[in-house]
């Protein structure tokens, strides 16, 4: 062994101290990398949610114009029978347009058209609803708030410049002046957008609503639940409690794990080829959508169900078998009730996943433009995420806020389901 001199030893100590410092710096750096990664990921989440929430806020409001409408019997009910069908068929659009044109003093054809285009093409619905709800308004003059066009809506909300001729402005000089005048007189204002929550889709941004998609999603998820839950629980029970360990069950297991990872769009192709083309089920219907979604979330439910069943301790089974219960009685009367909270949690999470799924539904034609609210799972309908997709695809500027508004509603539903699942787990979680 070589003898070290004192000076060499000193150099060694200094070098090792430097090395240690470097190693500690590396340690701190590494730690900082990890923290930064988490911060970046959460930062993206924050930006995403903030963008959507900010854009969504204005979608729950809509511009309205106050009109002093003279509900002229000659226009609305020329026969004087107050027959609801005749009342519903009257020319309310013309009535509203004339009222506004007269109020704004538009006389020649060009300005009359400009004035009329301040109103939404859906104002007839506003007036019709008032008349049908209370036919006694006929013959009187009332001040009513009616829906303004999307251009007015966007201008009032400040999304497009108000000055005529400015880049991106939607209003002509006349319209701009009228709007300023009405605003000053308190006859143009932004109110709660009731239509957004009660009506179906529309080509006109100010008339488009979510309700059709909400109902469609509800029907689809009901079909999914009715099919996926019993089948999933039964499969989980069989695989966990009864299945002998053999080739057949191995194949099933591998299959389930793989199905869980198959791209959802492939399930859409399956639905198109089998449910639509072979069985001839109606296109765009929540029934087919629900069937496809059931196949998609079946593996999730089976895997969650098996985990929940596995968590039930064997002593429960032994006790039941020891008291003379049959194998099936043991499962149905003791094991399954104890595993149910876990299974429910897994099912809710699977359903939440299904609610947000849209790619496979595009394949089975759920992207059609559908105005009517569906009345049964066989009617063509949209679902929430597909509605988001359709609106996001629309070139109209006014649909951007609608899209964000629909996303917020979708995220709210998802949040409620997930929180429900967490609460369920917290409440019934048992440590054995």
């Amino acid at each position: 062994m070589a003898q070290q001199t004192a000076s060499e030893r000193r150099v060694d100590v200094a070098a090792s101290a430097a090395r240690l410092k470097r190693r500690y710096a590396a340690e701190r750096r590494f730690r900082a990398y990890g923290f930064t990664a988490i911060a970046i990921a959460l930062g993206f989440l924050a930006i995403l949610l903030a963008t959507i929430l900010i854009k969504a806020a204005s979608s729950y409001m809509t511009a309205e114009i106050a009109l002093s409408v003279n509900f002229d019997p000659a226009v609305i009910d020329p026969d004087g029978h107050r027959d609801p069908q005749a009342l519903a068929a009257a020319d309310y659009l013309g009535l509203a347009k004339t009222t506004l044109q007269n109020r704004l003093g538009a006389t020649d054809r060009a300005t009359r058209r400009e004035a009329a285009s301040l109103l939404s093409s859906g104002v007839d619905q506003d007036l019709r609803r008032i008349v049908l709800a209370d036919p006694s308004v006929i013959g009187t003059t009332r001040k009513v708030w009616v829906t303004a066009s999307a251009d007015i809506d966007q201008t009032l909300k400040g999304h497009v410049p108000a000055e005529a001729g400015a880049d991106g402005a939607r209003l002509s000089a006349n319209q701009q002046a009228w709007l300023a005048q009405m605003k000053a007189e308190g006859d143009a204002a932004i109110h709660f957008n009731r239509r957004f929550f009660t009506s179906g889709d529309s080509r006109e941004a100010e008339l488009a609503g979510l309700w059709g998609a909400v109902v469609g999603s509800f029907f689809s998820l009901t079909v999914t639940l009715i099919i996926a839950f019993p089948v999933g629980v039964a499969a989980a029970v069989y695989l966990e409690e009864f299945a002998p360990k053999n080739r057949f069950t191995d194949v099933i297991e591998v299959n389930i794990n793989n199905l869980a990872a198959v791209p959802s769009i492939v399930f859409g192709l399956l639905g198109l080829a089998i449910f639509l083309n072979i069985f001839g089920l109606p296109r765009s219907s929540p029934l087919v959508g629900g069937l496809v979604l059931a196949l998609i979330c079946l593996p999730t439910i089976i895997i969650a169900g098996r985990a929940a069943l596995k968590a039930v301790p064997p002593s429960i089974r032994h006790a039941a078998l020891g008291l003379g219960a049959s194998k099936l009685q043991t499962v149905t009367d003791h094991v399954l009730p104890l595993a149910m909270p876990g299974i429910f949690t897994g099912t809710i999470l699977g359903m939440a996943h299904a609610l947000g799924e849209s790619a496979p539904l595009l394949m089975i034609g759920m992207v059609a433009f559908i105005v009517d609210i569906p009345h049964s799972p066989l009617d063509p309908s949209a679902v929430l995420p597909v509605q988001v997709y359709l609106w996001a695809d629309s070139p109209e500027r006014a649909f951007v806020e609608k899209t964000s508004g629909a996303i917020v509603v979708l995220l709210l539903f998802l949040a409620v389901m997930n929180v429900g699942a967490i609460l369920l787990r917290k409440k019934f979680e048992r440590r054995w």
Binding site: G34, A37, I38, A261, V262, P263, A273, G356, V388, L410
Partner: protein, 454 residues
């Protein structure tokens, strides 16, 4: 709906059967083999199951049977049509009969009326058969009730058959996917050769409606699509793997439990957001941002660049990578870490030189699963990536992917026999095979790794 009514009647009959069976068993005295309720279930099953089976097979076969009858009844000039025209006529008849359309000719109107009568007669016959079976089953099963009837064993056998049937649904789904994709893809390969499809570099699936139109021959070379898919998935993985892996390391090795309990669910929120939301985010926020960035740096950026779709897809996959790696890192035995500390390693040295190499196979498996997810992801690319099939490696150019093309080929196109729609199934088959191989490979790595430390 009539079927709902029929189902409710059958359910009612089954519950009556349960009460009758149980009641009869209760009168038999004390020496029953099975509990009275099992006798009830026995009768209810005999009452309900055959009828439901008939109902289900009717629902499955009804369209074919009625179609056959309808074709036989159509006038001769319609029957002489080619199969494709024939299916159009039958669709029209169906729509007219359901009241969705007005008949275009007298023959169709007659056909529609005939279709309605056929449907009604068929349904009536089936209902009678169902109810007859239900009542017969009920009566027969009730007559069989005796003290030594092994009702429990029979009921349990039936339930077990049901359980097995449910667990085979997964297998049938896989078979269904494979068969439907394969069948349509084979029809596609009749008109386009497999080699052209897999190795051709030109993709323009627009087929002309008439043969005299210019540019009528569609080109189905899928290489640009594969390249685009790989490019976007590559960008996504370049974002997701470092971020996901580093956050997993921080969470499992450094973070205290309180930090973990707050941040982990927040990261999971990223995984719970629907992909259509990410797509919208990519379009309205990320794409303009990247375009402006490109302007600043003087790089031309396409409006629908691969970078924006890939970046957003990467964000979506972060929680996937991080939770899988987290599991794997936590599964590395503590003794390995302690050994490293004992030799004087700092925490990060222990992680980099001991824990990560030990966890590597599992992490690779997790990353492969993430890749398969990125390849199959649809909505983000449909909304944020383009339609133009460019063969390029430039992340700022517009590329298209396999999933985007499947969606564009199939949405809004109901005609089912053109190579254009069939091409979607061929692409679907490729997608399915690739993701399946990745999944099987990744799962086998992960499982092997799990067993090693268990």
């Amino acid at each position: 709906m009539q079927i709902t009514t029929l189902t409710i009647v059958l359910l009612l009959l089954a519950s009556i059967g349960y009460r009758l069976g149980r009641g009869r068993a209760l009168t038999m005295g004390r020496s029953l083999h099975s509990l009275p309720s099992y006798h009830g279930y026995y009768v209810a099953l005999w009452c309900g199951v055959p009828a439901v089976l008939v109902l289900a097979s009717w629902l499955a076969l009804e369209p074919q049977i009625i179609r056959q009858f309808l074709v036989d009844a159509l006038p001769d000039q319609l029957r002489a049509l080619s199969p494709e025209r024939m299916s159009l006529v039958i669709n029209e008849v169906r729509n007219v009969a359901r009241g969705y359309a007005t008949p275009s000719s007298e023959a169709v109107a007659i056909g529609a009326r005939h279709y309605q009568t056929l449907q009604q007669t068929g349904f009536a016959a089936m209902s009678v058969l169902c109810l007859g079976l239900a009542i017969a089953g009920l009566a027969w099963a009730r007559s069989r009730i005796a003290p030594d009837l092994r009702a429990r064993n029979q009921v349990e056998k039936t339930v077990t058959v049901f359980l097995i049937a449910c667990s085979t649904v997964a297998i049938f789904t896989t078979i269904g996917i494979v068969l439907s994709l394969l069948f349509e893809a084979l029809r596609f390969f009749h008109s386009v050769s497999l080699l052209d499809f897999l190795f051709g570099t030109k993709w323009s699936p627009q087929m002309a409606m008439r043969s005299d139109q210019v540019g009528s021959s569609g080109a189905f070379g899928a290489v640009p699509l594969f390249a685009g898919t790989l490019l976007i998935s590559g960008i996504a993985m370049a974002v997701a793997v470092p971020l996901g892996l580093l956050s997993a390391i921080y969470m499992s090795e450094y973070a205290n439990p309180r930090f973990r309990s707050v941040v982990k669910p927040l990261l999971e929120v990223l995984a719970g957001i629907p992909t259509v939301v990410y797509g919208f985010f990519a379009v309205i926020t990320v794409a303009p941002f990247i375009r402006d960035l490109g302007h600043l740096m003087g790089i031309p950026v396409a409006a629908e660049s691969a970078a924006s779709a890939g970046l957003v897809m990467g964000i979506m996959i972060i929680p996937f990578v991080s939770s899988l790696s987290d599991d794997v890192i936590t599964a590395v035995p503590q003794s390995l870490r302690e050994g490293a500390y004992g030799l004087g390693a700092t925490k990060s040295e222990a992680i980099k030189q001991v824990v990560l190499p030990a966890a590597l196979p599992g992490i690779v498996g997790g990353v492969l699963l993430a890749v398969s997810r990125a390849i199959g992801e649809t909505m983000i690319v449909v909304m944020a990536a383009g339609l133009s099939a460019n063969l390029t490696a430039n992340p700022f150019a517009a590329v298209t992917t396999v999933t985007v093309q499947i969606v564009t080929l199939l949405v809004g196109d109901t005609e089912f026999d053109s190579p254009k729609t069939l091409a979607a199934f061929a692409l679907g088959l490729v997608l399915f095979c690739v993701t399946l191989c990745l999944n099987i490979f990744a799962l086998s790595i992960v499982n092997k790794y799990r067993e090693k430390y268990d």
